[in-house]
Point group: C2
Chain length 407, copies 2
């Protein structure tokens, strides 16, 4: 790639993540000198990508001119999948939805048609939005399973014979496609826009059906050798003989997943536990709703609901204690769909840390609840696209003349 283009793309990328930055800030971030950065900013302004947005307050000397991306220069398609439901949105350079968030059912298990359905839906939404493809930086997809983001492969779901899922969707949509594990994208969102912003070492717990983990180590999203790092759900922590979905027993997930929480609540009610919760509110058919009902009851002070949630929180805390011993993070952030229960969980997790952590380690670790919450995964998917924006593959144009599916 031409070098000037690379530098310009880096600047665009950092303006996306930083929103408003001075020339000095940018020079720092792209590791280039100020004169060169000035030159590139000039070109970007000529091209209409970037605008001056006035002066920032002085910090003791001359006030710096601030630069921002223009509103409508580029968009990202964000996709957040779980095993049953998929969400799609188109975000602008301020992470604002320019379309409504599209929500539709797309079961991933035993569904050979899933990749085709996904590609079709993405195309449909792009077409409907009326945004030309050359204004779309790419498609970012968060999905469950064993995902190798670099290779673009999902080893668990979305099988596409002969191609990786990234290649398949890219071929159909004719845009660059980037994928990663859902929990890792949530961590990326927290790193770039959330509670882990500017932190060098932070762990993001994704409380959902399972308990996911995304790790920020030395300022970077950590993926491990094959891209499988963060399998927190399945660390062998209990001797409870409960069989886990992974085939082993005693996994953390067997005591902490939302489904277990609902099951425990349901069983408790059957055994005559006193609670404002009603059995029909805990239907296994609508786990999302069932969980929300438990959280609502707990936040209203329902003792049984608090008890059930605390138990799960305490067990997550035992797992977090292990993480802290191993990785010595500065913060642990509770995020993902279950983070609505975050406030309730903070106490029992802290309790577990007090019991199971060497004090020197736990006192230096802040336990925080995400503010991104439900939207974290979509934000993370957009961030993934922009992370890769400076890479060769990120150029929409090269896809225009490619066949439907290419290698």
């Amino acid at each position: 790639m031409e070098k000037n283009l690379l530098y310009k793309r880096r600047i665009v990328k950092h303006l996306y993540f930083g929103n408003m930055l001075s020339c000095a800030d940018l020079s720092d971030k792209i590791h280039k000198s100020i004169p060169l950065t000035t030159k590139m900013l000039g070109k970007l302004m000529e091209e209409g990508m970037v605008t001056e947005t006035g002066y920032a307050a002085s910090t003791g000397g001359r006030r710096p001119v601030m630069y921002s991306l223009k509103q409508d220069i580029m968009y990202v398609v964000s996709v957040a999948m779980d095993q049953l439901v998929t969400q799609i949105a188109i975000l602008d350079m301020q992470n604002r939805n320019v379309t409504d968030i599209e929500l539709f059912e797309l079961p991933l298990t035993k569904n050979p048609n899933a990749p085709a359905a996904l590609a079709e839906k993405i195309n449909e939404i792009i077409t409907r939005s009326g945004i030309p493809k050359n204004k779309i930086a790419g498609v970012g997809i968060g999905m469950p399973g064993f995902v190798n983001s670099v290779k673009g492969i999902n080893y668990t779901f979305l099988e596409t014979d002969g191609y990786t899922i990234s290649q398949y969707i890219a071929g159909k949509v004719k845009l660059p496609v980037f994928i990663d594990n859902d929990s890792r994208l949530i961590a990326l969102a927290e790193l770039k826009f959330g509670a882990a912003r500017n932190k060098k070492n932070a762990l993001v717990i994704n409380v959902g059906w399972g308990v996911g983990l995304g790790m920020i180590l030395e300022g970077e999203l950590f993926r491990g050798h094959d891209g499988f790092a963060g399998e927190f759900s399945h660390i062998p922590l209990f001797l409870n003989n409960k069989l886990c979905s992974c085939g082993k027993s005693g996994c953390l997930e067997t005591e902490t997943s939302l489904l277990i929480v609902i099951e425990k609540a349901s069983n408790g009610l059957k055994n005559g536990k006193l609670s404002m919760l009603k059995e029909k509110e805990l239907s296994a058919d609508h786990p999302e709703k069932a969980f929300q009902n438990i959280v609502t009851a707990a936040s209203k002070g329902d003792k049984f609901a608090v008890e059930i949630l605390s138990e799960a929180g305490y067990n997550i805390g035992r797992g977090v204690a292990i993480l802290i011993h191993l990785l010595n993070p500065e913060a642990v952030i509770l995020s993902g769909r279950g983070s609505s229960a975050g406030k309730i969980w903070q106490a029992p997790i802290q309790q577990a840390l007090n019991e199971h952590c060497i004090p020197r380690l736990s006192v230096n670790t802040e336990i925080a609840v995400s503010v991104l919450g439900y939207n974290a995964e979509l934000t993370g998917a957009a961030a993934l696209v922009m992370e890769n924006y400076e890479r060769e593959e990120a150029r929409p144009l090269i896809y225009e003349n490619k066949p439907d599916v290419f290698i």
Copy 2:
């Protein structure tokens, strides 16, 4: 620092780690162009630091000239401490001992005189070697405890009022001093010269009195936010109610440390277990020897000894299973003093992984035994000094005129 000096130091550093490298290799490693690297190599040769060591075999084109460090241009003082015994050696640029390894007792617990004794001994050994201080790149020290390598602080041992232990020793010895946790230095040794060489993600288990861990993540030694990462010994894994030295119960260490292994062997014999081991061979006064005796017996096929070791190995394996789930490394290396039992432990660890790991994760992880073995910590201490060689503090000269202890 002058820029040329920086580049030259980088080249020296990489020649230390790489032993023999071509100009193109070096250009790659120091991230500078070939013409500039050529120029710097020329200067280093003029100064007598570097020599050409003939041509390497061709890989399809013109043969590259290889460069090496001259033998006697520089040395490193390596110190490897445990809670009772300290080893000191002076190594040359090929990691060869130029003095015998000095071994002396230096208890760290309740010994306010330890820092002074250490400094004195280091000075004594340097003086005896006859090597001038300006030929010594620095002192590297591996020590147990909570060590922040960047700040040069040991929070557990070697208290020196008002100064960090690094500052204290540096002031007394008048050489730059670098410290780190013993397990992390072993990992560094394995990364630079051992079984983890050229690996990007590897975990190094230091089997000693406790079970230490050094992590290589994305090609770098990982230290965590406060420098306390790798507290593998104290992850809460058992519900055994055994009190650990750290004050908690159920730590991994309570089932796997060498002392526990010896105790179990001793108790077994008392209860009439059949073995070639004799009780007097397991004296708690000489744990090092006692452990070696168990290993010897096991390698001769003694069933009881194998059983005892396997049990510990299996429990370590349970911990390793957690590590693999979280960090997805490409290799796990058994190193440190207990690595003489490495071969015996490989089987039970693998067994634990088969039981407790998701297959996709464990099949991609190689379990290897160190070849550096007993010397790993000393090698790591030297590597630590040379890692920092390009940094400003690494210049011996600035220490010459400083007072005994400085800030």
